[in-house]
Symmetry: C2
């Protein structure tokens, strides 16, 4: 019997909107969501057709705008980005082809909406074409692995990229035929002309509770690539890499202006971290972050345990969605719903990145030499921590 | 004519408490403040005498508790820490000795309250014995600089450390007589026996708006020391260092279990970052963070400008207080008030640090070798960013 997920609330934002008076809500939002060029992050109107399509399709649709100050020597560089969060569409007991096709169909609908909204760079969630079966430790889910260059999910994204003149970041489970059929957790970056620009493999692999993902794939070997696309320099920090500040920094040092963080994470485990880490990265690295989380509760055929002494169970918990965009000036959009598929659209003036670098000067005050030296010492076996012991202690 | 600070609200927490119904408040707080061992961070009752003293003294007093799971091979290691935020007590036009004595008197009152509450490790705010005159670019404020080892503020803290058997972290403006009367932004760490264990100098110096603090002092030369005290291994990340994830990491690699972040920062500049950075550091490094911010609006005798085209003015803005403690499990306390002096008390079971390292494994999945190598390349003049350019672009 599949576990029945407990009732989940829609979003923190919806609760605050309902109960806090407007003047005080502005104070709360000023602290919680920040200001962009001195004002709350502005909502952007979308067409009535798009709103109707979202209502009919049962998905959350929100759009916002991040401004930058006008400059004299550069025009604004406004890029419209899109984040897609989606649940699985048929039970995990259905034939795998049917499962994938159902997800493809839904994601096509969401990307088509993004295309109609003028999105130029879009990112999907981690391992989007499949249920997130990695909690089960069953290798059968590896059947969903595909070629990064020529698999069915890449082909779908190529078709939609060409159709909408859109860069699409497609995080999949990769089967690397050229290297012994190995499995990777990979984001494929598809250019607006439909070509595969390249791929990045998840650098940091969790071994937490249900999720020892190294059962399925190992630490990535692609470094911290930044992809120079028609619409800006982007990078991808996949899921658990968001807990690693140096991973965020790695993409920053290579020049990223937008870093996507496609994720799959559940409430009990990580929800209080979710509003923190992507935003901290945007601040510290003076770039935009698009944080995307899977949504829904996925029930698997066979029970599994979590290393926490609780009875075996068939679902890992509720993937709480809540995708959002964080800006380098510490402002952010509200979150998409915790319980619905969704498309978040954000206009990002990339000039804001350099403006924040100039304002705060984090790159110039960072003392990379000191940290390079510390890390070089730290990785040695004979590293001795710098500890000053109170000599008056026994 | 001194600028009149605009009315400031008490805190985000007070607004939410007033308007959001209890059941929904629990949902909001679960996301915004996290859970500690599965429950909201618990308030700790203090004596009626302490509460009365706080009410009579006009300061905010709050106390919380962070638990850890019981272990079989270690007893709990509960340390009671205290954070003090204080405004200046007489106008900046008063004689300097009077200014310092008035602050000393108030801070003595707050530390005595902390002693009565059983606080074992206490940290004061950045440059606590003086107004934060660095926005003025006037060198006259350097008169407040003192010897770290033997200045009047150190002596006061030594007296109180002995009186209360308390470790005290005292962030001051340091005059280094042994090195040409140079000025540093320094935290002095005083042991519970009243001895000066050592000091740490601010690693990262802001050059932002009003605040080019390098007018006064340069980047610190003390590395990332961890001070082994009678009550745990502590470190100090002074103010602007909180924007630098590698600075937080430096203290973590050296074994800190509690890192204090004594600060002086104003609303318009940084308030949306305040709930983010200290908490991200606690999560990423599996240690506690005590984030402390100065409170109040300080009006200076001579007008100064801010490099933003606005008219000259005599105050830099409102220091918004809001001190809080963040735990390695992503939970945190509410904030002290934005407008009042305050003492925040928190019981921290230090066992939680290792428990979170074991749970999340960030240290083991961090790939320090890769980052040591990246930074070694980055600091070279001929560093070439790893960029993959879409070949289909012109």
């Amino acid at each position: 019997m599949p576990a029945s997920p407990k009732a989940e609330f829609l979003s923190v934002e919806s609760i605050l909107q309902e109960h806090v008076p407007a003047d005080k809500l502005a104070q709360v939002q000023g602290v919680l969501y920040g200001l962009n060029c001195g004002k709350p992050v502005a909502a952007v109107p979308l067409s009535a057709e798009l709103s109707s399509a979202a209502a009919a399709g049962g998905y959350d649709l929100q759009a916002y705008r991040f401004d930058a100050a006008p400059e004299q020597l550069r025009p604004p560089r406004i890029v419209r980005i899109g984040l897609v969060q989606n649940s699985i569409k048929v039970p995990t007991t259905a034939p795998f082809l049917e499962q994938r096709q159902a997800i493809h169909q839904r994601v096509r609908e969401l990307i088509d909406a993004a295309g109609a909204a003028g999105v130029q760079v879009l990112c999907l969630q981690e391992a989007w074409p499949m249920p997130f079966g990695f909690c089960t430790r069953e290798k059968v889910w590896n059947e969903f692995a595909e070629s990064a260059e020529a698999g069915p999910s890449t082909r779908l994204c190529q078709e939609l990229a060409r159709k909408h003149n859109m860069v699409i970041v497609s995080p999949i489970l990769e089967r690397d035929e050229a290297h012994g059929q190995t499995i990777w957790n990979t984001a494929v970056v598809i250019g607006n002309n439909g070509n595969v620009i390249g791929k990045h493999r998840k650098n940091h692999i969790p071994r937490v509770g249900d999720f020892n993902e190294s059962t399925y794939y190992m630490e990535g070997n692609t470094g911290h690539p930044v992809f120079e696309t028609a619409f800006g320099k982007i990078a991808v920090n996949i899921c658990y890499g968001r807990h690693h500040p140096m991973n965020w920094q790695g993409f920053g040092l290579n020049g990223a202006e937008i870093v996507f963080n496609p994720s799959a994470t559940v409430g009990a485990l990580s929800e209080p971290m979710w509003p923190i880490e992507a935003r901290n990265a945007a601040i510290a690295n003076s770039y935009y972050v698009g944080a995307i989380n899977r949504v829904g509760t996925e029930v698997f055929p066979n029970a599994f345990t979590s290393g926490d002494g609780k009875p075996a169970h068939k679902d890992f918990g509720h993937f709480y969605g809540s995708s959002y965009v964080a800006a380098p000036d510490a402002s952010r959009t509200p979150s998409l719903a915790r319980t619905l598929d969704g498309l978040l659209v954000a206009d990002c003036d990339l000039n804001l990145c350099q403006q924040l670098k100039d304002k705060w000067g984090f790159r110039m005050t960072a003392r990379y030499d000191m940290y390079a030296e510390q890390l070089a010492r730290y990785v040695q076996h004979d590293f001795t921590p710098q500890v000053i012991r109170d000599p008056s202690l026994e």
